[in-house]
């Protein structure tokens, strides 16, 4: 099977984000593979291993600096990378999905496409649906369980309160992975060494014949969120502390 995995290069979860210029941030912080895309990648690699054949191709849209991050995607077991190069960290989801579609289409015919359920930087939560729509493929997001059988994917999706919806759809299809689908493995040193030699293809977004002039949405302002300060600590015995807290929550904050 030819499996395409859409991966985003995002600032590390724990990195400090320094906002500047109204809508930008200092891109000097550490970047990682978007955590949800790791579940995608792991699933794709496991399918290839199980089948004993096939290809796992990582597709990403981002700056050239994304290549370092993509090397770690290769170390996790992907065969090669396609990078659609842009000047900005943020594109809107409509444009990203169009760029992903063109890049995949130019490369081959997908049997399966994986995405993470969302990115952790712009938190758009929609690229996979736009991509699926462009390819006219069925899609399910928030997938915590997947089994493939005779060209049919059976997936389970969490719908809140611990309940799950079970879907079936024919391949090719788009799957949005989330935590629970698998346990991503850590790459071993030989995998990291091998990753350095794997093929990386770069395409400039301008070569994809997309309309880059009229974005559907635009960030007009970005600001850091102030952390809450030091907590007001309750004092006295356990009973006294609890009574004090309940009184505050009821009378002052009115949340009880």
């Amino acid at each position: 099977m030819k499996i395409y995995v859409c991966v985003k290069h995002v600032p590390d979860t724990a990195a400090k984000i320094s906002v500047f210029g109204g809508t930008g941030f200092a891109e000097t912080c550490k970047f990682i593979v978007n955590p949800y895309d790791e579940y995608s990648l792991e699933e794709a690699v496991q399918i290839k291993q199980r089948d004993g054949q096939g290809e796992v191709i990582v597709v990403t849209v981002g700056k050239e600096s994304a290549l370092t991050t993509m090397r770690s995607a290769l170390a996790l077991g992907a065969d090669r990378v396609i990078l659609v190069k842009t000047d900005a960290q943020f594109l809107n989801s409509a444009l990203t999905s169009r760029a992903l579609k063109k890049a995949i289409e130019q490369d081959g015919v997908p049997d399966l496409i994986f995405c993470g359920k969302q990115s952790i930087d712009s938190e758009g939560m929609q690229t996979l649906f736009r991509l699926a729509n462009a390819f006219d493929m069925p899609a399910v997001n928030d997938v915590v369980d997947l089994s493939l059988n005779g060209g049919v994917a059976r997936v389970e999706r969490e719908i809140g309160g611990g309940s799950r919806e079970v879907f079936e759809m024919p391949l090719p299809c788009v799957i949005g992975a989330t935590r629970g689908l698998n346990e991503p493995h850590y790459p071993k040193l030989p995998d990291i060494m091998k990753a350095k030699k794997k093929e990386v293809k770069q395409i400039d977004i301008a070569e994809l014949d997309l309309d880059l002039t009229a974005p559907q949405t635009e960030i007009v302002h970005l600001e850091a969120v102030a952390e809450r300060g030091q907590a007001r600590m309750m004092d006295g015995s356990t009973r006294e502390m609890v009574e004090q807290l309940v009184r505050i929550l009821k009378e002052e904050e009115k949340v009880l």
Binding site: Q126, M234, V255
Partner: protein, 322 residues
């Protein structure tokens, strides 16, 4: 006159409470006419609630010859038809588990802009505010075209009533679907739990809870408050709670009025999932735990001592009221 649509999520109990904040947000544009869209739900049962929050038109959407409940593509297509038919300029809805699916499918189908999980919206300006970088920054984003779709984080906007008399309209969509995607079954959770993302109050237990069984201490307290029970990633990884209970980066993002964290250290990843809560209370044995440096109220104490006392105090107060 601008027409703003609100997709209303319903359950067996009728209109889900979290929709009321969405209706309130829709009214921020002065003079706009609010259309409440119901898909396959009884308009008459919902009318009273919807008109108390300013919905002038209640549109009961049905699909000819199809079951939208079993086919998400059909639902999106029916909603898209309604948006076009009623010339809606902005559609608002909940970014709940259901809304994250439906609104995204609808936006993809119509090729219109969508921003999910917003914590603020200004329909007159066509801008929204949402978290970027897991809550470390807030982005103001502008929609450059109409119609657009905005998903709001449940509980992000305080509901306010504004009564009016609503008119009920029926809209039969033709509905289009590839027919490739079908719901085979719904596996109900054995725990009849309050949905984390829609709960007004959440009590979360971290790794110090030490066993799955010990969550009953939190559940007992939650039961009195109508609260949902959450878990930290460390507790999930240790096998004390299922992933569906996890709050944080790789779990659920929640925005309750009150968040009580028991035995949490206060990691960036956990805060990514709950920092927009109105009030955050922490209970931790370590008075120097980082969480006390970034929450509203704190109790330095053992959760196994503090939570049962909290349950007791709440019980006594409830008894007093009765």
């Amino acid at each position: 006159m601008a027409k703003i649509g609100v997709w209303i999520e319903t359950s067996e109990q009728g209109v889900k409470e979290a929709n009321l904040g969405v209706l309130t947000a829709a009214r921020r544009q002065e003079g706009a006419e609010i259309y409440a869209f119901l898909i396959n739900a009884g308009a008459d049962e919902c009318k009273q609630t919807l008109q108390s929050y300013g919905a002038r038109k209640i549109v009961a959407i049905t699909v000819d010859g199809g079951d939208p409940a079993a086919d998400p593509e059909l639902q999106a297509s029916a909603l898209a038809e309604a948006i076009k038919h009623f010339e809606i300029s902005a559609l608002l809805g909940l970014s709940s588990a259901k809304g994250r699916d439906l609104l995204a499918r609808t936006a993809a189908l119509m090729d219109v802009p969508l921003i999910q999980d917003c914590i603020g919206v200004d329909p007159a300006a066509g801008t929204v505010v949402k978290s970027h970088f897991s809550g470390r920054t807030l982005a103001t984003i502008r929609f450059n075209s109409n119609p657009y779709i905005c998903g709001l984080r449940p509980n992000a906007i305080e509901p306010q009533t504004a009564s009016c008399e609503a008119e009920v309209l029926n809209f039969a969509a033709s509905g289009h679907s590839s027919g490739k995607l079908m719901v085979k079954e719904v596996k109900q959770s054995p725990l009849k739990a309050v949905d984390l993302t829609e709960a007004n109050i959440i009590i979360t237990g971290g790794r110090p809870i030490a066993s799955a069984d010990n969550y009953k201490i939190l559940r007992e307290c939650a039961g009195l408050l109508g609260a949902a029970v959450g878990a930290s990633r460390a507790a999930v990884d240790a096998g004390f709670a299922p992933h569906s209970m996890q709050v944080g980066q790789t779990g659920k993002t929640v925005s309750p009025k009150l968040y009580i964290g028991c035995g949490l250290s206060g990691s960036v990843q956990h805060f990514a999932g709950m920092k927009t809560s109105k009030i955050i209370v922490a209970i931790n044995t370590d008075k120097d735990a980082p969480i006390f440096g970034k929450c509203d109220y704190g109790i330095a104490g053992d959760l196994f001592e503090v939570v049962p006392v909290l349950t007791e105090v709440l019980k006594e107060q409830l008894d007093k009221v009765d």
